[in-house]
């Protein structure tokens, strides 16, 4: 049965502060009882990942990793969520690896494929930026060098 997963766009819409707060309280209440259900943990983690703040995303990914470690039955879904989390944070390398593992298991999964595409786009875009920077730095460097040489030859 194909895993039910949200598209990456879903991760971009964040929950309101109140809702996240409710989830956090629920999580901490269960923590105090020292029995945290998987669902509560996931709810809180997913809410954190959806948030725009980087620290939330980091915490969310950490919680997702805990779920991954603890519940073998849930691992396949977690692969996707971890990939999404890393994608939002900008760790495209890790995101790609998790996503690749998921695609290994479920080649026909639409969300995973779309996420793979998104990751690729981002990586290329960053590559372009990188190239631009390198080019700019190189240009600046030649300019500086040229002026130094000119000054030296002028003397």
């Amino acid at each position: 049965m194909p895993t039910e997963l949200p598209y990456a766009a879903d991760a971009e819409e964040s929950l309101s502060y109140d809702e996240l707060e409710v989830l956090r309280l629920q999580y901490q209440k269960e923590l105090a009882q020292s029995h945290v259900t998987v669902q509560t943990k996931f709810n809180y983690a997913w809410g954190l990942v959806k948030s725009p703040l980087r620290e939330h995303q980091v915490e969310g990914v950490r919680l997702l990793q805990e779920i991954y470690r603890a519940e073998p039955a849930r691992r396949r879904e977690c692969l996707y969520y971890l990939a999404l989390g890393h994608y939002k944070m900008g760790n495209y390398e890790e995101a790609r690896r998790f996503n690749a593992l998921l695609l290994d298991k479920e080649p026909a999964n639409l969300q995973a494929q779309s996420l793979a595409g998104l990751i690729d786009n981002r990586v290329t875009r960053d590559g372009y930026i990188g190239m631009a920077i390198v080019g700019g730095v190189a240009a600046l460097g030649t300019l500086v060098l040229a002026s130094v040489i000119r000054r030296a030859s002028r003397k």
Binding site: M1, N43, Y68, V123, D126, G127, Y128, I133
Partner: protein, 650 residues
């Protein structure tokens, strides 16, 4: 995002760091990072990155069970607070504007509380989405006529219509909510199952730990016993170091083997024997074993069987028969062995003392029965007929036949009882015997004289606490009602169906210092003071003749033909515990940790006193019911109706 000016010249793009980590992609991310410069690389980031490696190695199994049915996302959507939204919205659509009723104040008043708060007028219904409300009911206030009657008051819902679209939307929402409930139910059931499993696992761990605690208790009792044994040895060895002490060696060999508590001396090979298995069988008797005792593990064993007047002496190291004790004229019913001294009581009413070191001297036991018969005949001729006398057999008694050496192992004969001697116990120089003439006699072994006679019949008809002269108490065994006559009670059938007439009035006895405890055929256990010869307490409880008995500082344990073993408290006389079995109990021995009993079955029953568990020893065991047993530390000897004596490692 920082605007990117694509460099047209460079179309080569290195995507997805194939080789190194420093490539254009990472460079491209650098400005991003610099831009939001206040953010530092936290430990959490590193933690995540490190964990990724490890996680990617882990196996990803197929999802099953709840994971398959309810994905995390669905669970999320079902349980987040906004799932409640649609329900709240629908409820609000059903809110009806009514003029202020002051319900809150009413309810507070009904509960007896003061309603302090001001009712806010017109609390608006804050519906988030557009609610289409067509028409409002305003008739409540106007329906009143002058009489104050509310005529034509309509129901709250009369004036409201929602509109088809709204209603359809509500149906969809309700269906979604129902699905959510289904999802949540599945989640909770799964949680409950997991918790049940955890509870089971924890319970199992708890049971195991409690068992460990019991085992520790057992070990502690064992150590206590060992400590006592070691202390006794200290005394013995101390006295050995002081030759000035004039303790007669013959009297004080060591503590009586019945009271010795510490571990026995065993050959090292004994440890390798698997526990609970009979590793040696001694077959020589032809009739059921009636009595047995041994001096120490791997020492000397003396056994007697029915209709055989000669108990046999065995060497337990080799398992060979060393010799026989000739002299008795009837079945030997009780034996006690302490070191090299053996006392036997038999149906002919006499008790004989034997020196087991001299058994080898009597060489003609192998040469058949004819000699022994002729010897017996010759003994009869020279019998001294005084009832309370003693006879000493010495090598110089007048015997016609000189070919056979006459000083056998028998050292002394004690005569006095008129009927079969069925129970006895001796320690140091004092011996007490019980016989079917319903008396018990105390003897001094140095002189061979009977020191005291205790009449049980008299004690029955003159119970210490009841009014004098009363008849026999009614609860005693019916067979004892004919106590004046011969005592004979049929035993309940053994496991193989056989039974016999039990005629031993005194089933068992033991003493320590001046305190003597006896178990008799009327089912009563009596505690006697040997200085006065009077019983000072009678313990009633058994409904059948008492066949076996043992006591220590704390408990008296008795077994009887009523198929039960009772544990009594020595000081108060109350019953601690009753163990019920399927057949009559014929022999028992106990220590702080266990009770070993012969209960009319082929297997030997062991009751663990700390864990209250029963177990049976059957491996390589008897083929007919076990009747007698005795153990020391981890070495046990048992004899059964199959005429075989078996040796066990405990």
């Amino acid at each position: 995002m920082i605007g990117a000016a694509t460099v047209s010249g460079r179309s080569r793009v290195s995507v997805g760091g194939g080789g190194g980590h420093v490539d254009f992609a990472t460079l491209g991310r650098a400005p991003l990072r610099l831009g939001f410069g206040s953010r530092r690389v936290t430990s959490r980031d590193l933690q995540i990155v490190e964990a990724t490696e490890e996680l990617l190695q882990e196996e990803v199994p197929e999802p099953e069970g709840v994971a398959e049915n309810v994905s995390l996302l669905r669970g999320f959507n079902a349980t987040i607070p906004s799932a409640e939204k649609s329900r709240i919205r629908r409820r609000q659509t059903r809110n009806v504007d009514t003029p202020k009723l002051g319900l809150k104040r009413l309810s507070l008043g009904a509960r007896g509380l003061l309603g302090d708060e001001e009712e806010h007028d017109g609390e608006s219904v804050a519906s988030e989405d557009d609610v289409v409300m067509v028409g409002r009911s305003e008739r409540n206030g106007r329906g009143r006529k002058g009489k104050g009657k509310r005529k034509g008051r309509q129901s709250l819902s009369a004036g409201k219509t929602f509109g088809i679209d709204e209603l359809v939307r509500q149906t969809h929402e309700i269906e979604r909510d129902k699905e959510n409930i289904h999802v949540r139910r599945a989640l909770i059931s799964n949680e409950i199952e997991e918790i049940s499993h955890k509870i089971e696992a924890l319970d199992a761990i708890r049971v195991k730990l409690e068992g460990d605690l019991l085992r520790l208790q057992e070990e502690e009792l064992e150590l206590d016993d060992e400590l006592e044994g070691v202390r006794e040895r200290i005394e013995v060895e101390e006295s050995a170091l002081q030759p000035s002490r004039s303790v007669s060696r013959t009297g004080h060999i060591a503590a009586s083997s019945r009271r010795r508590k510490g571990p026995a001396f065993l050959p090292s090979e004994h440890d390798e024997l698997p526990p609970g298995i009979a590793f040696m069988s001694l077959e020589s008797h032809t009739t059921p074993i009636t009595a047995l005792d041994f001096s120490e593990p791997y020492g000397t064993l003396v056994t007697a069987s029915q209709d055989d007047t000669q108990p046999r002496v065995w060497d337990l190291l080799t398992g060979e028969e060393i010799g026989r004790l000739r002299g008795h004229r009837g079945t030997v019913k009780c034996i006690q062995v302490e070191d090299h001294i053996c006392l036997t009581g038999s149906e002919d009413g006499t008790v004989r003392a034997w020196d087991l070191r001299r058994v080898d001297e009597d060489e003609d036991w192998e040469s058949g029965d004819m000699f022994s018969l002729s010897d017996v005949v010759e003994e009869d001729e020279s019998v001294d007929t005084s009832t309370n006398g003693i006879r000493e057999e010495s090598s110089t008694s007048s015997r016609p036949s000189s070919a056979v050496p006459r000083d056998g192992p028998c050292v002394r004969t004690l005569e006095g009882h008129t009927k079969a001697v069925s129970a006895m116990y001796f320690e140091d120089e004092c011996l007490v015997t019980g016989a079917s003439d319903k008396t018990m006699r105390q003897w001094d072994l140095n002189t061979g004289q009977c020191v005291m006679t205790m009449d049980i019949l008299w004690a029955i008809s003159h119970p210490p606490t009841a009014a004098p002269g009363t008849a026999l108490p009614a609860h005693l065994v019916p067979g004892a009602a004919a106590a004046a006559g011969t005592f004979a009670v049929p035993t309940p059938p053994y496991a193989d169906g056989t039974w016999e007439m039990y005629q031993d009035f005194v089933g068992a006895l033991q003493f320590w210092g001046y305190a003597l405890v006896s178990g008799s055929g009327d089912g009563a256990v009596r505690m006697w003071d040997m200085r006065t010869g009077q019983p000072h307490r009678t313990l009633l409880g058994h409904t059948g003749p008492v066949t076996c008995l043992q006591f220590d500082e704390l408990h008296i344990v008795t077994g009887s033909l009523d198929k039960s073993i009772r544990i009594w408290d020595v000081r108060t006389g109350s019953i601690f515990e009753t163990l019920k079995y399927d057949h009559a109990v014929t022999a028992l021995q106990f220590d702080t940790r266990k009770i070993v009993a012969a209960t009319g079955e082929n297997g030997i029953k062991i009751y663990n006193r700390t864990s209250m568990q029963h177990s049976t020893l059957m491996t390589n065991g008897h083929t007919r019911p076990v009747e007698r047993l005795r153990y020391m530390d981890r070495y046990m000897v048992s004899g059964g109706r199959d005429s075989i004596v078996k040796i066990w490692a405990l």
